[in-house]
Symmetry: D2
């Protein structure tokens, strides 16, 4: 049995008018997500913009989330600090706060050899007071190759899983195939929203899914259908979700689309730290409108006011627009 299973929601960070962390809103978000039934929380991931926070702010985020959580769900805490000593520092803190594990990327900025990366994780595993999840996200930091993952999984009990955001499904399957037979309790989490269902079907233990911060009801439904083998339903939800995912992923800097989505669910995210030009802010309003429409179609009436285009009529015959039916079905079954 792996200890990390199900859907871990990457926590977005709300900012107040002064650009500081909006603590009360962050607490409200934690409560809301737990109420909606997500399996765990994942603060200080890429979605949580850890790289745009200060060291102290990152620690503060974990503290707030852990306090508000009060042990209700497991917390996977992002710990990709600048060097081994700083990582060990936050490992101690996050262990004390009751987090279940920390997530650590390959080194970022500089290119580093696979051999150095392996050696680094071995040292970290030896000295860490808390379980470690390898975080593979080659778009932003050095890849952790499958052979390195495999050797670390076999040799280091402290390393308990991988979160793979590479969007490379053949790689993910190779990881499952290489690691699981030798260490069945090694948790393989997928970090790519578009392929959550097939990943679960092929043996993933769960996922870190940014859209579970926006539509936790749908993602948890998708998770449930996937693991209970309700193939047809899972397939339909996964494909329909692509509209929302694409709207949030593209057209603006990451993770602005997800921040827009969550704000449409009633949260005050504040202004991003990565400045947008005036024109890009206007574009973002368009994207917000588009996301609002998709959410409205999905039955999230709190987003309706912002929907910019005329919603499809009931008797629309266009096959690709009946997200509504599907996800309303999801919600109905949730209400039961």
């Amino acid at each position: 049995m792996t200890r990390l299973t199900g859907i871990f929601t990457p926590n977005l960070v709300p900012f107040d008018a002064n650009g500081h962390i909006n603590e009360s809103e962050l607490r409200r978000m934690v409560d809301w997500l737990i109420e909606k039934g997500v399996s765990g929380l994942y603060p200080n991931g890429s979605t949580g913009e850890f790289m745009r926070l200060s060291f102290e702010e990152r620690k503060r985020v974990i503290q707030i989330v852990a306090e508000e959580n009060r042990g209700r769900v497991p917390i996977l805490a992002g710990a990709a600090e600048a060097n081994l000593d700083m990582i060990l520092d936050v490992c101690r803190t996050y262990a004390d706060l009751g987090c279940i594990a920390v997530s650590v990327t390959g080194p970022y900025y500089y290119k580093v050899s696979q051999e150095s990366i392996e050696h680094f994780f071995r040292e970290l595993a030896k000295r860490s007071p808390i379980d470690i999840v390898l975080y593979n996200i080659p778009q932003f930091s050095n890849e952790i190759s499958v052979p390195v993952v495999t050797r670390l999984a076999v040799d280091c009990p402290r390393i308990v899983g991988i979160k793979d955001s590479s969007r490379d499904f053949p790689r993910f399957l190779n990881t499952l195939h290489a690691v699981k037979p030798q260490r069945p309790d090694f948790s393989c989490l997928i970090g790519c929203e578009e392929i959550l269902f097939p990943s679960l079907l092929l043996g993933a233990d769960g996922g870190t899914i940014a859209s579970s911060g926006v539509v936790p009801e749908v993602i948890m439904k998708l998770h449930r259908e996937s693991i209970t083998g309700n193939i047809a339903q899972a397939r339909r939800i996964q494909l329909k979700l692509l509209d929302l995912i694409n709207a949030m992923l593209y057209g603006t800097n990451f993770p602005e689309g997800f921040r827009a989505g969550m704000s449409l669910r009633g949260f005050n995210l504040g202004t991003t730290r990565q400045l947008l030009s005036p024109r890009e802010q206007t574009d973002l309003e368009e994207i917000r409108g588009k996301i609002a429409c998709i959410l409205t179609e999905c039955g999230y009436s709190e987003a309706a006011g912002t929907c910019r285009v005329v919603p499809k009529t009931k008797n629309s015959t266009s096959a690709e627009l009946n997200v509504e039916q599907i996800v309303l079905g999801v919600l109905k079954s949730l209400n039961k």
Copy 2:
């Protein structure tokens, strides 16, 4: 109903001692594949090294395959020639030979805009006497983006499908989601061996799978289990296949690993046109030995003589090595 479904086997090209196409061996391969039950043949694909043949040789390959096939299975003929006129030339020939469709890549060598690529395919669709399959393989030629694929699918009846070898599963799902509701008969074929099962499960109509030229029994079994919803079995076969796929894909120039694999099934592939250094030839022998072992474990006794390492004993407990049981099961069920 799409016209292109199931597993199309990319035909390897055998060469004789003079480096010419070994016609009799190619005919024997065609018969063997059809006997083994593959759904269709796919000559002049990347696996068929079309780019290392002359224009006349490419035409000859299709002629041989079509003749030997005698209408038994549909033929998808690679037609990625140097310019529109040459493509139309082979389209006429391949239509006359009874091929079901041609496959055309995005332009190769030069970088070309998506808009030019779309315009090119529209022109081709207008003038082609045979159905066209878009061939997306961004590793080797210009990508054909999902919006372009979608517009072509909606507007051009002559364009009947896509073969996607990008290894990008989120992209493939986005293609399915964007195209199928608007044109259900558009055939979406996956060209990535590692993800055949999840692709079929999510809605792929089939695949062009190079390893179906080496272990057609296993791939057809995997296909059957996938489309009949035998999830557990399909998952197991897919993951086990990774050993063989990795052995054939890596460690030597593509497609030498597949040529080695097929030679182990009793075919005389001859010497590759892309020269290997003496050291690389020695390495290839190692890889052959490895592939032979995997094939022997899978019950293909004709490969046994070349297997270089001691085969696992019956009571091996290593979870990752019991390919044998699984695939012997496959073969048993095939014998019935």
Copy 3:
């Protein structure tokens, strides 16, 4: 002394109304270039769209160019055919036609190991009846790494030079530094217009420069100033040329910008084989207008009719627009 020195002009291929090679216009272009003083001709390069011609057309291009040349300047003939036998076939033909050498890229389409590439060139060198120039253009085909180039230069007398279009100047300097001390007669040609002057200054023997097909007067002037150490003048011409180069390189598919440029010098290039969408054709007219203006400013009055924007007035103070003065100066000195 290297045998390949100076500026080799990559020949564009004019097409007639039926899309065939326009032989008389190609002959006229050859004469014009030789009259303008280019050092050599380079047909069937990337600029010559060899990849969009048939095998027979490529041979025909070389035959026309060689015939029309009548031995006046050396011809470097592109010979990047599909496999070793086909390359050797054209090598014999081009040797018979009196070409000085052939240029061969690393393999295209497929990824191939450096070791295989080295072995391939060794084999080619052993068997070729004509001198070989390595053609490094990693944008479009497999790179030929500096260590491979160095070993080939040291070991193979038949390999007499490299044409490097990688746009990677540190790489080019490393090539010069690694090869020249061991084989001073190995010709290092730069294939990147923007850095012709610094390349010559650091030891390049010459270059294959597409814009020498459009403004041969300027490129030959730049070459002369560079090799005679007229640093200030060479620097000024090189920087001013960037406007023209950028206009021709960007905004449309390669090499349409260069075709537009040469058509503005009075040649009928015909329609490209790589189709442009209607919108892109309109865009190309804009680009033509821009190129025409730059050419007009440079004193090429034949382009004046197509110049779309109001030419700068004499007393314009903008430093970056006085291409005119500089290049008129160039032309004046040419007239002397």
Copy 4:
């Protein structure tokens, strides 16, 4: 006149036995570099491993360097902090410490649009109390495109230069050509060792050159020969330097090779923060030996003890190994 000219040496950071910044050694390095005649200092660059330091340590590095410098040479301080507020914080501090300017990369880790990057630098320019140098290093952080650089140079007096480490010489020339005519005092610094001489010759104001921390005598000599137009000598030194640069750049994680080089000049750099595997540490010893040999050949006798291979004899005829003569000549002329 630009205010930033000449060679700015990127400061390496020495660590003590506890892994903390070795303050006394850093001070000794500052004095040594100034005595050797470098034009300025550049602490907290990529070579200075700013990304592996804590926020406080980065501030401490600048404080130490500024104190020890006592106004002798200009200091360009790396200020690529996590967000705008943190950058402005260090800008104030570094201004107070007397630094001449700060250097800021494009955002790292996340991909960010060019428009956002431009807007960010405009905001920074409005609010910064100290001059800003754009730091383009697309290998590690988002590129700052030439059009963005140009607009910022024209519109923002606070932005006084660019340091371009992209290794893309055509890009650097385009920057010079686009910016200098409109803003002649905008400082264009090259951050690529292999092309310092051609960059200076084409109009660069100087460079940030990591090897100037190892062989400041040679780099300052190269700079002098370049700007005084001693072409032949500059060319020879530049090409000979490639051996040393390649030895330091490749074969180990950046910037370990430079740390090895500087340790061979008599400084105690301590152990790197980016762990190396035991095998990589052994490899590094090999590289150290190689660097030592090159330095010994160059007349730096303090490195002799570590040189692993037999130094070439006086009457060696191998053209590529007489670095000695050239650089001894350099040193002799320095002694005069």
